[in-house]
């Protein structure tokens, strides 16, 4: 085995891949959120539509988007190889489980949380990305440019309380995933030091609460607006 396969297939190497892809996806969340918050602007969707138009046609963004899909797939693939290896390492379990005495529920449930997020991503892509790319979306003209009315697509979907509720719940799942994942990524990269680890942990917890909460705010506000 060459040193490179040896590195990438060792559990430590795989954790490094998990950390790097995880941090990239964490960063992606912040960018995605910044764009989506425009849905809450009271401009009839003008700025959100300009933004989606830009994102769909800018070549740099499209390249990063491909990378993003690749990193999501890599994150999922490596996590499952680790999951099955780790299951095999303890074929007979314990009768008594210690619960949360020595570790947090989130840290023990990353595969479950990640799988729920995967289901969310698939439905999320089907609901918007797929429709915008391959479906029929009404057009709108902003500043003389004709573009998809992505704003209307989102607003109309959140009029359904089931869809809005699903989005809000999924952001709860994301919060737990980030609760452990954020600081865990730094630990996996070997970045642990009394100078900054405390800071990373605080930022991680804040990030895990604030980002999903702001994401969840969008369906909440749009649904409330729709009922009046």
């Amino acid at each position: 085995m060459s040193w490179i396969t040896n590195t990438l297939t060792s559990t430590v190497g795989r954790k490094v891949i998990m950390a790097l892809t995880g941090l990239f996806l964490t960063l992606f969340l912040a960018v995605h959120l910044a764009g989506n918050l425009q849905l809450l602007k009271n401009d009839g969707g003008e700025s959100f539509n300009i933004y989606t138009q830009f994102m769909a046609h800018n070549p740099l963004i499209q390249a990063i988007s491909k990378g993003n899909f690749f990193f999501i797939l890599l994150h999922i693939y490596v996590s499952f190889t680790l999951y099955f290896r780790n299951k095999k390492a303890r074929p007979v379990g314990y009768k008594v489980a210690p619960g949360n005495v020595s570790s947090s529920w989130a840290s023990r449930s990353m595969t479950l949380l990640g799988t729920l997020i995967l289901i969310f991503i698939l439905l999320h892509l089907r609901g918007y990305w797929y429709v915008l790319k391959f479906g029929h979306v009404p057009m709108v003209t902003v500043n003389g440019v004709e573009m998809h009315d992505a704003y209307r697509l989102v607003v109309e979907s959140y009029q359904n309380p089931l869809i809005a509720g699903f989005y809000i719940l999924s952001m709860g799942v994301l919060a737990f995933h980030l609760w452990h994942g954020f600081s865990s990524a730094f630990q996996s990269l070997g970045l642990s030091h009394v100078k900054y680890t405390g800071f990373i942990k605080v930022v991680g917890k804040l990030y895990a609460i604030v980002v999903p909460a702001l994401f969840a705010l969008i369906p909440i506000m749009l649904y409330l607006k729709s009922i009046g």
Binding site: S2, W3, N6, T7, S10, T11, V12, G13, R14, K15, V16, L82, R85, N86, K88, A89, R90, P91, V92, G93, Y94, K95, V96, A97, P98, G99, V101, S102, S103, S104, S107, R108, M110, H180, S184, Q187, S188, L189, G190, L191, S192
Partner: protein
């Protein structure tokens, strides 16, 4: 006040036996007894009755050898922090308690009998690289090699590991990363450990994986249950060592 307890103990005749839990009543247990002494009392009873006593590993009984290994009510070395089973006393339990005792559970630690598991996988990890090469000859002068106090402290903290395997037993993935990282760490920070530095981390991590231990997922449970309270900072250091070794070692 002496107490009566119900013990739910894993009994397994040998490595091939399926094994099962058997319930025993022990009466008149003194709160001053250690946990192992309590099992000694049970075993005296069993022997008198002509039954097979409960087999368990133990040696120094003063918390420094790492032999005693049992999961007590779901926790390696029992409910107290920073101690081994032999240092756990019955005053931590109360009258009428039901206590479940299980062996370390890991594919890499097969059960030999009852609560005894084979931990030689740890020995093989050490043999893979947990050593330093020292030239023979006259005794070197003490402190001939200057080492900063903080560095010596870090090495000493890691070197406290007694190799009991509580980290593996506790980890939901049965990962040996805390053990392996402590053994990597204690030598990696010291000048004497530099000669084999990169080879050490590469070989020890590889051996750890060959033994069938799971991977670390940073739950941090190991450092909570470690009787020597070894920090997962050493795991981060082992990751740094691993990344540096992969980037710099001459093993292509």
């Amino acid at each position: 006040m002496n107490m009566n307890l119900k013990l739910n103990i894993w009994r397994q005749k040998n490595a091939n036996d399926k094994g099962k839990f058997v319930t025993y009543e022990v009466s008149d247990v003194s709160p001053d007894m250690s946990f192992l002494e309590m099992i000694d009392v049970l075993n005296e009873d069993l022997t008198r009755k002509g039954e097979d006593p409960v087999h368990f590993d133990h040696d120094c009984r003063e918390g420094i050898c790492g032999a005693c290994s049992m999961v007590i009510n779901g926790r390696a070395h029992g409910p107290k922090r920073g101690i081994t089973t032999c240092q756990l006393h019955m005053r931590s339990f109360k009258e009428g308690d039901s206590i479940t005792i299980e062996p370390w559970r890991a594919d890499a630690f097969p059960v030999v009998k009852d609560l005894v598991v084979d931990r030689s996988a740890f020995d093989r990890i050490i043999q893979a690289g947990g050593y330093v090469s020292v030239g023979t000859g006259g005794t070197p002068d003490a402190n001939a090699i200057p080492i900063p106090k903080k560095t010596a402290d870090i090495a000493m903290d890691a070197a406290q590991c007694i190799g009991c395997g509580a980290c593996v037993a506790t980890c939901k993935n049965a990962s040996a990363m805390l053990f392996t990282s402590a053994k990597i760490s204690q030598l990696a920070v010291l000048p004497q450990g530099q000669t084999e530095r990169y080879n050490r981390v590469e070989k020890m991590i590889m051996q750890m994986e060959e033994e069938g231990f799971g991977g670390c997922t940073n739950t941090g449970a190991c450092e909570v249950e470690c009787p020597k309270e070894i920090s997962i900072e050493h795991i981060a250091r082992a990751h740094r060592e691993f990344i540096a070794a992969k980037a710099c070692s001459h093993n292509v």
